[in-house]
Amino acid sequence: MSDLAWGLEMTVVGMGVVFALLLLLMGVLILTARLDSPDKPAADEPEPPQATPAPLATTPVPATEPAVEILTAGLTVQQATAVALAVITHAEVRRQQAAPAMRTHAPGSQIHTSRWVSVGRGAQNQSWNRR
């Protein structure tokens, strides 16, 4: 029965420790929530970063919003989707070109980056054949 005893001891101690740790974590999370919510309602995050081009999924939707209506007048939803996708993909391509590894932040990052750096780097990273 020593094995059973050992097993039960492990169970009690193990689950005890796991619960204790996660209770502690819960406490910290609740504390964080308290500290965070009042003083910063949402100003910290005007437009949350999107690591992936997920919003593509919703591109057909803007076609029904008035502001975009003007642009998309005379286009079918499919056409509007194509245009929106093209523009977003284009932006994605540009931002990736503009991001040399090892050099500061991904410059096309829609929150933080100055357009200047972005375009400058993008241009620098291709051959100068315009001239």
Binding site: D3, L4, W6, G7, L8, M10, T11, V13, G14, M15, V17, V18, F19, L21, L22, L23, L24, L25, M26, V28, L29, I30, T32, A33, D36, S37, K40, P41, A42, D44, E45, P48, P49, A51, A99, A101, H105, A106, S109, I111, H112
Partner: protein
């Protein structure tokens, strides 16, 4: 013809003459894993390479598992030093959104409850005659988390790595099949119909960034053995939430994760050598793993019922089942069961919170287990 000729023919036939019954059985097992991966789509990303690795290892005289063989090289490179599972954890961290958990911190407890199965299975295993280290390794299947299982069993009982990994990944993929009956058996219809309000709260970016750092420091200081698992999971999540290292997040969750998954699968498969795999213990491990899974689910649901009682009937106990870490399949199954009783009942976000907690709790439980075994 001459002697050289005869020895040549001998050598050409050496493959055939070295086929053993074990290798034939293991070739069949490899094919079975490949079939499960392709036809049944049970975690194909890992089971297909494992099955192929098993095949290639058990072909007679396979040079792939010789001293400089490719599969041996891969095993040394990333399994023996636990590099591969930890790299995969970075990728999982990059892909996991802890938002629902941050919104509902009390869900953390459900993650803890989902680890009961680990220890109960440990008890069963030790009673069945496994050594303490082996029992603990078998119990970790109950974490229902592949990389954790590999990490822990590599340290406690490397000789059981193959069956434990196969069991862990197989059962992870069986979530939608195994869980529902248990959930239904342990809850009443009325309980399953409980609706829960979902008061969404905006989680600030600051909180999202602080979360992985705090968890790493907290767990790392209290359970040093859990540092690698929790640290890498949270490092991945920190990169994700920071929003400034998109290149690294992308590499971790794509190139690195894919490459490592491929290599890990092949390397794990190469540990499935007939003579050591085809033992009574392997079968017991598979059964015990299934038991662990069921116990986990049951413990989660029962804990959910306890929370329901404590909250005065406002907590849907199904959510408890999401406390295991098979993320995000468990949460989906919970939602499906709830919607089965009441089509408009939407408890997915709560389940997601519990599920993310299960992910953290699994790594913590893995670390605690290692700590306790180091002590024993």
């Amino acid at each position: 013809m001459n002697v050289a000729m005869e020895s040549t023919i001998d050598l050409l036939l050496r493959g055939v003459t070295n086929v053993t019954w074990q290798s034939v059985v293991m070739l069949a097992v490899g094919c079975l894993l490949i079939w499960l991966a392709i036809a049944k789509e049970y975690e194909p990303l890992l089971l297909l390479p494992i099955g192929a690795g098993c095949l290639l290892t058990n072909l007679p005289l396979s040079p792939l598992v010789g001293e400089d063989g490719m599969l041996t090289v891969l095993r040394h490179a990333g399994v023996d030093n636990e590099l591969f599972p930890l790299l995969i954890f970075i990728g999982i961290g990059c892909m996991t959104d802890f938002g629902p958990l941050l919104e509902m911190p009390k869900m953390v407890l459900l993650g803890a409850a989902g680890q009961f199965g680990i220890f109960l299975t440990l008890v069963l295993a030790v009673l069945l005659g496994f050594s303490h280290n082996e029992a603990a390794s078998i119990g970790i299947i109950g974490a229902i988390d592949g990389p954790t299982s590999i990490y822990v069993s590599r340290q406690l009982a490397p000789q059981l790595l193959a069956p434990i990994t196969v069991a862990a990944y197989s059962y992870m993929s069986l979530v939608p099949i195994i869980m529902p009956p248990i959930m239904r058996a342990l809850t009443t219809q009325k309980e399953r119909q409980i609706r829960m309000p979902y008061s969404s709260r905006v989680i600030s970016k600051r909180t999202r960034i602080l979360f992985p750092i705090v968890v790493t420091l907290l767990v790392g200081i209290l359970v040093p053995f859990a540092t690698p698992l929790v640290g890498m999971l949270m490092f991945g999540n920190l990169m994700r939430e920071s929003g400034v290292v998109e290149r690294l997040t992308g590499a971790s969750s794509n190139e690195i994760a894919n490459t490592v998954t491929l290599f890990l699968g092949l390397a794990i498969g190469s540990t499935m050598v007939g003579t050591s795999f085809l033992k009574w213990s392997t079968l017991m491990i598979l059964v015990l793993g299934l038991v662990a899974f069921c116990l986990d689910t049951a413990a989660g649901v029962l804990f959910g019922k306890l929370m329901n009682v404590l909250s005065g009937g406002k907590f849907n106990p199904l959510i408890g089942a999401a406390g295991i870490s098979a993320f995000p399949m468990a949460a989906r199954v919970v939602q499906k069961e709830a919607a089965r009783e009441d089509f408009e009942n939407f408890i997915l976000m709560h389940a997601m919170g519990a599920n993310a907690a299960g992910q953290v709790a699994s790594t913590v439980a893995g670390g605690v287990l290692l700590a306790l075994m180091g002590a024993a």
